[in-house]
Point group: C2
Chain length 463, copies 2
């Protein structure tokens, strides 16, 4: 077509997919052993010892700058930023399957950045990981992304020091983006929360800092075998690394997306925020908000003192689950291709049904139910013989919002008797590579499934 | 790995992508001419004449089974189903860019099915299209999907007759799914509305009906050249047909997703439903709810009489825009690959920022603004010389919810002077095939951009 006045410019086009990247990632996962996991854990321990940290439970009235609003009872910071604890009227599904309940919920509509900086050393991709304190973490310090910045952080609402290395994630000219997607977080505790998960590769020199270390993917995979060592944000971001995908699976990609669309249509999430004071079935005490039957979680407050964080002292609310969780994928390998049994998961605070683990629950909160109503496959994964357990470790959720929120993460091999090819309603066999491909898009793979995906990827080293 | 008790089953895996499908779709788009567009339009005209339709504006008090709730002022059906007209406190973006306003909004959290049945005849894919009346459509009857069923429809809340051909979309064993995704609809008028867009191919015999016809994609493309002929639901569903994708583009897929993630993080949508009675700046009269400066849209009520629909008579509210819209993609071809200038679009009722057209506005509602604040590229697309206008037709939005909601849809070729390679803030050059690939996922390509994508695809016939 000839257009009058058309200036012929010939920009260079780019390949839509970076074909070499999965191989580079595989090389990093198979890199020669450098420092061992124990040595890296010792470094985290030294960082913990060199700074002085103290996290103490306090009554709500000792919170500084946080208070319950007189009209709504919502717990908010005086700046109006960070997050609030409000009420949720959760409603899921269509009549007659519709279920409804009330609960407290964390509202944080700001989108933060969880960013990991990558760089090649001697031809092998390394990732700049941080030993970072979060008040709710077991052990306080865990291996974290290079940058964990709320919008308040990087707009300096809390008047702290600048976030180190943030410029790599806010200025695209400083590197090459390997992955970048808004990912949902815990729909059971957050109202529509999501963070921007980024991996950026740089080729230039990067200033060093004693709280940060360059690790290969192999080292990170080895650290994942240890309890409460790699934090949730790091697990979520690393799950977005592209893998070489097997082109075949039990179901085509279209069939998988169709199965998800069916569940999204059948189980719409219609939850609404309500005042925290109006939440039925929960009671606010001097130092906690509790479920009247002691189930699910409580809302508490802590005082934090730290010498090496952006600010040295603060107080904040945290959500504390009542008991340890179980999060598991049941796996089978079909014609050489590893698959997981994913579940279509609707949570009160989520936007849409997402793909979740086979099992994701807090057994203590289900103990009062008749056996038939307990989560499917829970017994299978918690009583599997050791020969079936391909992965098992404890991991905690975001230590900036959750106190001692620990779950046992499991990958359990099954057979036709335990987990038939013809999956039960609400479940679908998804190849590991299909799951990985969906992490490029928002609201497809939930945060617990992303941790398990990273665990699955780590198993390749041990195959 | 050997697992005790493991039963070796060898299921056949499937190719994750249906490699042959884009070619089959291209064949349907290039099929030998059958009935002409004029002949098909005459058939629609005969269907219009043979049924007797009447749509009349009525005052709100003449609505049957619909009423304003005493406490909230929300307009709702007595069954609690279908949809409601409520208030929206829209809030978009972060301080200091945050903007807020009040407006009425349609709330419909049910997810309906928009389904098109496909079948090969003589080796060419055909699509079963319906001549369907919707009260808000200009001309009342338009070419529509095989099935347009709200959840209320197919659970029979309105006690009407069964939805014809619905079984192909609810029973997977009856065909093969070619596309299936929940797609968002107009974020300016709906609160988080989405429908399930499905294309299902069958190989068996399909009963005929006088309101339905099998058309090739070529015939549908030709009908798209005519004003107000192919309805919004059909356009949205057909945009999901997979195309052969050029493997190169100005930006890699990761760069494009990263650009979108940046805008999603910077412009969170924090809108909340409020009572319709509490909407500031709008006034409810006897037969309409109007903006106090006569901008944007009004809410009205109609009475409908029809002899060939699921029910013969009903009344309902509709949203009526104030004036014709302009929806346009500015296009350029780089190294042989067609690109569109997409805009990151945040709308009050949407879940996330989505990719939208270069221009999407109602000029009348912007006429009071200084020139510098009017939509970018609006002048370019409305004053382009005919040689630059590759596509131009009027299309209306969903006639079941919107009354005479007509926009001029345009595809306008541009050059470096009009639309530089270095896109202005908020805009990004996206290849047509990148846009098409994103229609597989929810909340990525908005409804107006999906119509334009189908229009772009239709241009291949004329290249």
């Amino acid at each position: 077509m000839t257009v009058p006045g058309y200036i012929r410019t010939a920009p260079r086009l780019k390949a839509r997919r970076a074909a070499a990247l999965p191989d580079r990632i595989a090389r990093s996962a198979a890199a020669p052993a450098g420092e061992s996991a124990d040595e890296i854990r010792q470094w985290i321990g030294r960082r913990r010892a060199q700074a002085s940290f103290a996290v103490d439970r306090i009554p709500f009235e000792a919170l500084e700058d946080w208070s319950f609003a007189p009209e709504t009872g919502n717990l908010a910071h005086r700046s109006g930023r960070f997050f609030t604890v409000e009420g949720l009227h959760a409603a899921i599904g269509e009549h007659p399957e519709r279920t409804e309940w009330h609960q407290p919920v964390i509202v944080q509509s700001e989108v933060g950045i969880l960013g990991i900086l990558a760089r090649e050393f001697d031809g092998v991709l390394h990732f700049l990981m941080q030993a970072k304190m979060e008040p709710g973490n077991p052990g306080l310090l865990q291996l974290s992304p290079t940058v964990q910045a709320t919008y308040s952080n990087y707009t300096k609402v809390h008047k702290g020091v600048a976030v180190r290395y943030l410029e790599y994630f806010t200025d695209p000219s400083r590197g090459r983006v390997l992955a970048d997607v808004l990912q949902s977080e815990h729909g059971a505790w957050f109202h529509r929360k999501r963070n921007r998960n980024m991996i950026v590769e740089t080729s230039g020199p990067v200033p060093e800092h004693e709280d940060f270390r360059w690790l290969t993917l192999r080292q990170i995979h080895q650290l994942l075998r240890h309890d409460n060592t790699v934090n949730m944000d790091a697990r979520s971001v690393l799950a977005a690394l592209p893998v070489r995908g097997a082109p075949h699976a039990l179901h085509s990609d279209t069939e998988l997306l169709s199965w998800l669309a069916l569940h999204r249509a059948a189980i719409p999430i219609r939850s609404e925020r309500i005042p925290l004071a109006g939440v039925a079935g929960w009671t606010r005490g001097a130092s906690s908000i509790d479920h009247d039957d002691d189930r699910y979680f409580r809302t508490v407050a802590v005082s934090v003192r730290a010498s090496n964080r952006e600010v040295g002292h603060w107080t904040q609310p945290l959500i504390e689950p009542r008991g340890q969780g179980v999060v598991a994928f049941v796996t089978r390998t079909f014609a050489g291709v590893p698959h997981v049994l994913a579940r279509a998961r609707a949570e009160g605070g989520s936007t849409e049904v997402e793909l979740g683990p086979t099992v994701q629950c807090q057994p203590r909160s289900h103990a009062h139910l008749p056996v038939a109503e307990r989560p499917p496959f829970l017994d299978l994964v918690t009583t599997a013989p050791p020969s079936r357990v391909r992965y098992s470790a404890l991991h905690s959720e975001e230590g900036g919002r959750f106190l001692n929120s620990v779950s046992r993460y499991l990958v359990v091999a099954a057979d036709e008797g335990d987990a038939p090819l013809d999956a039960p309603p609400g479940f679908c066999w998804v190849s590991r590579d299909q799951l990985a491909a969906l992490t490029r898009y928002s609201h497809y793979v939930n945060v617990q499934a992303r941790t398990l995906l990273l665990c699955l990827n780590s198993l390749d080293d041990y195959a």
